[in-house]
Subunit: 216 residues, 2 copies
Amino acid sequence: MLARVPSLPTFKRLPRAVREQQMLDAAVKVFSRRGFHAASMDEIADDAGISKPMVYAYLGTKEELFVACLHREGTRMMQAIAGAAAPDLPADERLWRGLRAFFGFVGAHRDGWAVLYRQARGEQPFAGELAAMRSRMVEVVAGMLDHALRADGREVPETELEVVAYALVGATESLADWLADHPEADPEKTATRMMNVAWLGAAQLLRGTTWRPPST
Amino acid sequence: MLARVPSLPTFKRLPRAVREQQMLDAAVKVFSRRGFHAASMDEIADDAGISKPMVYAYLGTKEELFVACLHREGTRMMQAIAGAAAPDLPADERLWRGLRAFFGFVGAHRDGWAVLYRQARGEQPFAGELAAMRSRMVEVVAGMLDHALRADGREVPETELEVVAYALVGATESLADWLADHPEADPEKTATRMMNVAWLGAAQLLRGTTWRPPST
DNA sequence: GATTTTGGCTACTCGTGCGTAACCCTACGC
DNA sequence: GCGTAGGGTTACGCACGAGTAGCCAAAATC
């Protein structure tokens, strides 16, 4: 019925690896704008300049696609940070470098961050995935604090450290959200601010200063 | 076809106000467990012990229902906090009381918090709603810092304060998540930890101490 | 130059779940 | 004692979007 146009030379046969990246780019973009559920596979395929079945053929179902996005972006981020923080530097220097790398990354991948990390927090199937990454971050930060403390001859129960680390990571993520929402803001400056909050507080804690609740 | 049982006395005619609360309770519960999209109106209605059309009649569409949940829980939380923090106390005392009230609330409404605030972060239609609440919190915290600073004769640009406040609020939310995930954890203790991170850091800032990036 | 592999498409099926039409019955006001 | 408003129900329409069947063509490969 359809007068099949005999393949108008849209000749765009590309190798799988390339197409997969295009699809992931499109997926990140669409997921970030619409949210996981509101995003449609059709729109993603469309945005990638390809048809839906190809997406299924290469990256699998919608959930698998989202996880693939999460992994790619997460790995990129981890690498950016790991590459910046040499483990033999003093704690504040390491923290500073890590933060700078982190905010630099978020600044450069604003919607990648916004899309995935913001999305993944809510949706059940992915919350675990994300939580695992966050855990690794918390671990690293807690390890750093612990290291600094021991070097100072002090020791603090693990749970305590973990909670503090959790708070710091949370604050950092929060500022990342802020950064993602303020396109004109400077990542470097944001990192400095975070450092102010985190380090001045952490320094006190490392020194052994502790705040105590007033007798109620 | 159905042999209609002539109204077995399930007699459960309740006034609108009551049913609405039951529905909201059920909605909060289901939304928090399943997430906004995965939650079905049927399940909510079921859980509230009522039929679906009643939910539509009283609370409107799914989105409207969710917003209603957000509002109820948000208002409750705000009241809990506002009731605790008298405005004429010193900054640290106010902060402490606010945090204690906050974590107390989250501890007592774990799934209310988890469900709504965690959900609302991701979903486009509600992100705004949530952002507005967060803004009010940030405002309050920033105002507090500003107040303390002025009393000390110092002054700091508004944006700077806002970002610091944002980080503190973020850290607090993060610990709230942690608390919601750890049923055995003590809200009071969590509040103390947060106070340690926030106040020891903030105190330094208030004193005028500032961290500066090393010359790269 | 034939064959197989790989990249690609159009056009469907089918489940799921929101929202509603149409109807029922009890309690209260008068 | 009777009408009516408000609490309640079942059973459906319908749209939307994930995932698929089936087919085509251009490169590799032999």
